[in-house]
């Protein structure tokens, strides 16, 4: 090692790979994701690929062969019926259901670009995303079709395809689920009259079936450098922008995830997909990775309340679970889960937000398996670091960089910080996005010389394990001292009376900024919880300037679709509050 070479570039984490993890990524095996999908559907033709399970246990299944044929038909529909060209954007706004993989893989096979869209978006969020991406075709779940009347006239969408949650279920369960949705829960709105063609997915697939055989022709010459998906992310700056992820980006991330889990992969994996596939975490870690592995994906359309997962966990031999802290915590609060944890489980993967120490420990105790926590972001397809499944358990760590990935910690000038100091985590590797769609300025501010600046502050220990200290933008500056909200939140979470907490900075006349805690009381806890109790607790664990100056009790905290607490929403509230004053 030369004197001017930053320690990070020597990859001090390699010993942690042991014999289980390959140090380098294998060379690319496929030209693009369409080929990855087509090969998987040939290799595993007769295996079950996807099973969607609704809360009462009703379900539908597609085999790999069916997924291959149906996605070929959807590709044919996009190119021949909708007359799309390679590179055209297709917005997909679906909960986890059998339609999702058919449509997503169909988009790849057509050489088009997938625009994953949250089904719970409001009309104005939909308009922004469809216009920003320039989507021409929209595939949307029929439960939210009522928004179309307002959205479609304001966008360039030329064609709408509708799908139900129980689409492709056997006839009777499908009729019952739809009947219950329509009559009982009244969640099926009438389809508004639109000036553009609207059809159901069955009709779209039927009209595409005639062109099914042309599908291979659409993707044979599609380079891996082509954009596969525009994955929208708000970041902390507010306006939602599309991260351009290429086929190569996503395929390399699949290989990274595979490398980290290889020691635990058998020939019949079954993964519980409770996180939404429109989110990059489940999209890569569940859909693409287990497609390549020939695994069986158990899709849960609506994982909340967590009781909705009961029949899926009882009826299928789940070997992997991907989730976020709130999901694992929720499962362990269910009696049916703790009494009979899935007995085939090999490991669980956590991401999205920090995994609490207590949750990880309890999980290990209850299930006898590990939760490997990882770190990633939309802009990196998403996985950057991961805890290994072999060797020591390191809680509170996001693990080591995945193979083929360079990571550094840098100061505000972009210069690597000495070993042991906190710095912004930056990433370079084949999974890093090409930039934000049509936003050169924002791209330039986050992507420099191939390095992606994550905005997360981390430290690295002697073995090359990283630990996130906080978001750079969430730092609270109290009288010149840096306060990391995570540290205060961890301290608050140690109170039995506290269910969840979030910490933000508020303007303060004396100290510039002061710490404010938003606290959700634990309903299990009977006695009163007061501000004084919270402050006294913090004083026992933290130095003076870190103690929350104000404590606000809330019934719930704002959360993202996957359950990540959104500090930015709380900060926006604070901003509005102090602007008034």
């Amino acid at each position: 090692m030369t004197a001017d070479m930053p320690i990070y570039d020597t990859r001090p984490w390699l010993p942690a790979y042991g014999n289980a993890i390959a140090r380098e990524l294998p060379p690319p095996r496929y030209r693009n994701l369409a080929e990855l999908a087509a090969r998987a559907c040939e290799r595993f033709a007769n295996k079950k690929a996807f099973t969607a399970v609704v809360p009462n246990g009703m379900n539908g299944t597609l085999t790999y062969r069916q997924v291959g044929e149906l996605s070929d038909a959807f590709a044919g529909y996009l190119r021949e019926v909708c007359k799309l060209q390679a590179g055209d954007r297709v917005a997909v706004q679906l909960p986890n259901s059998l339609t999702y993989p058919v449509v997503a893989l169909g988009v790849f096979k057509a050489g088009c670009v997938l625009v994953n869209t949250n089904p719970l978006y409001t009309a104005s969020e939909m308009v922004h995303q469809f216009n920003d991406s320039g989507a021409k075709v929209l595939v949307i779940v029929d439960m939210f079709a009522d928004k179309l009347a307002e959205v479609i006239p304001k966008t360039g969408i030329q064609r709408v395809v509708l799908s139900g949650v129980s689409e492709m279920f056997p006839a009777i369960p499908n009729a019952i689920v739809r009947g219950v949705q329509k009559v009982w829960s009244k969640v099926l709105p009438p389809i508004p009259q639109l000036s553009i063609p609207v059809e159901r997915i069955k009709a779209a697939l039927a009209s595409g079936k005639a062109h099914q055989s042309k599908a291979a022709g659409y993707w044979t010459d599609l380079p891996s450098s082509a954009v596969a998906a525009l994955q929208y992310t708000g970041g902390t700056t507010g306006v939602s922008k599309g991260a351009m992820l290429t086929h190569a980006n996503l395929m390399s991330n699949v290989d990274m995830v595979l490398a980290m889990g290889k020691s635990h992969h058998g020939s019949d994996e079954c993964v519980l997909t409770a996180l939404p596939l429109y989110h990059i975490f489940a999209f890569t870690a569940n859909l693409l990775t287990f497609l390549e592995l020939g695994g069986h994906n158990i899709l849960i359309p609506s994982p909340r309340p967590v009781q909705n997962l009961q029949r899926a966990i009882e009826n299928y031999p789940i070997t992997w679970i991907t989730g976020v802290n709130t999901l694992f915590n929720g499962l362990m609060n269910e009696e049916w889960f703790t009494a009979f944890p899935p007995k085939h489980l090999k490991a669980a993967i956590a991401g999205g937000t920090a995994l609490h120490h207590a949750v990880a420990e309890r999980w290990q105790k209850i299930t006898g398996t590990r939760i490997a926590e990882g770190f990633g972001l939309t802009e990196c397809s998403p996985v950057v670091t991961f805890n290994t499944l072999v060797g020591d358990v390191r809680t509170d760590s996001i693990g080591v960089p995945v193979p083929g990935t360079e990571v550094r910690l840098v100061n505000d000038d972009g210069v690597p910080v000495p070993h042991g100091e906190a710095g912004e985590l930056i990433v370079r590797g084949p999974q890093v996005m090409q930039g934000y769609w049509n936003r050169p300025e924002e791209t330039a501010s986050i992507l420099k010389d191939g390095w992606l600046f994550t905005g997360d502050v981390a430290v690295m220990d002697a073995d090359g394990y990283f630990k996130i200290v906080d978001r750079k933008k969430d730092l609270v500056l109290v009288s010149g001292f840096n306060v990391y909200p995570n540290e205060i939140e961890d301290a608050l979470a140690k109170m039995d009376a506290v269910l969840e907490a979030a910490v933000v900075g508020v303007p303060d006349a004396n100290s510039g900024e002061s710490v404010r805690a938003y606290v959700v009381k634990n309903p299990e806890f009977v006695s009163e919880l007061t501000k004084d109790m919270v402050v006294a607790h913090c004083k026992s664990l933290l130095t003076d300037y870190k103690i929350p100056k104000s404590v606000i009790f809330r019934n719930e905290l704002p959360k993202s679709p996957i359950g990540k607490i959104l500090r930015k929403d709380l900060k926006a509230e604070v901003k509005a509050e102090f602007n008034k004053k």
Binding site: N56, G57, N59, I172, R311, E314, A339, F340, L529
Partner: protein, 303 residues
């Protein structure tokens, strides 16, 4: 009275209802209930402690004739009805507890119900032609356990069929009551008009007092409000169709008609009374939730 064909139809419907109840259960549910038995034990105490005694008390204090006394004691000794699960759902109660109470009380019924009926009918001074042979009751219950177990197996082996049957079973629970109203009431119109008020009082009171006492006992045994409300509904709502089936299999002609009066009246009125109670419980549950919220807001203001 019910014709031969109607009795058979009722029997088949009961089979399907029990098939549906089985499909709502797993073997694991029972194991969990045995691990943490308190809620279910309190429920069983209400089901087989309070209700049969209440039936006996009403029969004796109102001076009901032997045929009517058998009717009310029989319905009072029945296990929980599957419709209680639907009412619990609407009242925002503890659904898992309700389902467990229904199924455990149905299982226990095979042993408990024949002896409870024998004990209380004897205590009420009923004998001879109006006595229900314990073997009859046990036989019906055992026969009904078969579809329950088949339902449980179906849910495990084919969740689509299991869930479909579960749904059909719970819908049929309502249909059976409609069927009883449709087939019994028009033919016994005169009888209803000439029925004295104590009979109505007994048929309606059994359910109402059962819910009230169930709630109190649950509170006394330190169940929280939500579980108490669930236990209350579960206690008051009996398996009416099962009682009707046992009567039609045991008695014939005129006797059958007399014995049947209270179980049928009970089944008709319990739908109304438990609907009202459910609305009330639902309001309480909502208010408690709101009270918890405003308590927090109060603290937030002071903070």
């Amino acid at each position: 009275m019910l014709s031969e064909a109607e009795t058979k139809l009722l029997g088949i419907m009961m089979m399907v209802i029990m098939l549906g109840m089985g499909a709502s259960l797993t073997f694991r549910d029972f194991l969990i209930a045995f691990k943490k038995p308190k809620g279910v034990l309190v429920g069983l105490l209400c089901q087989y402690g309070i209700m049969p005694f209440l039936g006996y008390l009403l029969a004796v204090s109102l001076g009901l004739s032997p045929a009517l006394a058998v009717g009310i004691i029989l319905i009072a000794c029945m296990p929980g009805g599957t419709t209680s699960n639907i009412f619990t759902y609407f009242s925002k109660g503890a659904l898992a507890l309700s389902i467990m109470m229904t199924s455990v009380s149905t299982l226990v019924a095979v042993a408990a119900v024949p002896s409870l009926i024998a004990f209380y009918t004897k205590s009420a001074g009923v004998s001879g032609e109006f006595a229900i042979p314990a073997a009859n009751v046990a036989q019906v219950l055992v026969v009904l356990l078969v579809p329950t177990v088949i339902g449980m197996i179906l849910r495990k082996t084919n969740p689509n069929i299991g869930a479909t049957i579960e749904l059909i079973g719970s819908l049929l629970g309502v249909c059976v009551i409609l069927f009883l109203i449709g087939s019994w009431v028009p033919r016994n119109y005169q009888l209803l008009l000439s029925t004295p008020w104590p009979v109505f009082f007994a048929a309606i009171g059994l359910g109402l007092f059962g819910m009230l006492l169930g709630y109190w006992l649950a509170q006394l045994l330190k169940q929280d409000n939500n579980r108490s409300r669930t236990i209350s509904l579960e206690t008051g709502i009996q398996n009416g169709p099962l009682a009707v089936l046992i009567v039609t299999l045991t008695f014939k002609d005129e006797t059958q008609q007399q014995v049947l009066l209270i179980p049928v009246l009970y089944s008709l009125f319990i739908v109304l009374t438990s609907s009202v109670i459910t609305l009330w419980y639902r309001r309480n549950a909502t208010q408690e939730a709101l009270a918890r919220d405003s308590a927090k807001v109060g603290r937030a203001v002071s903070a």
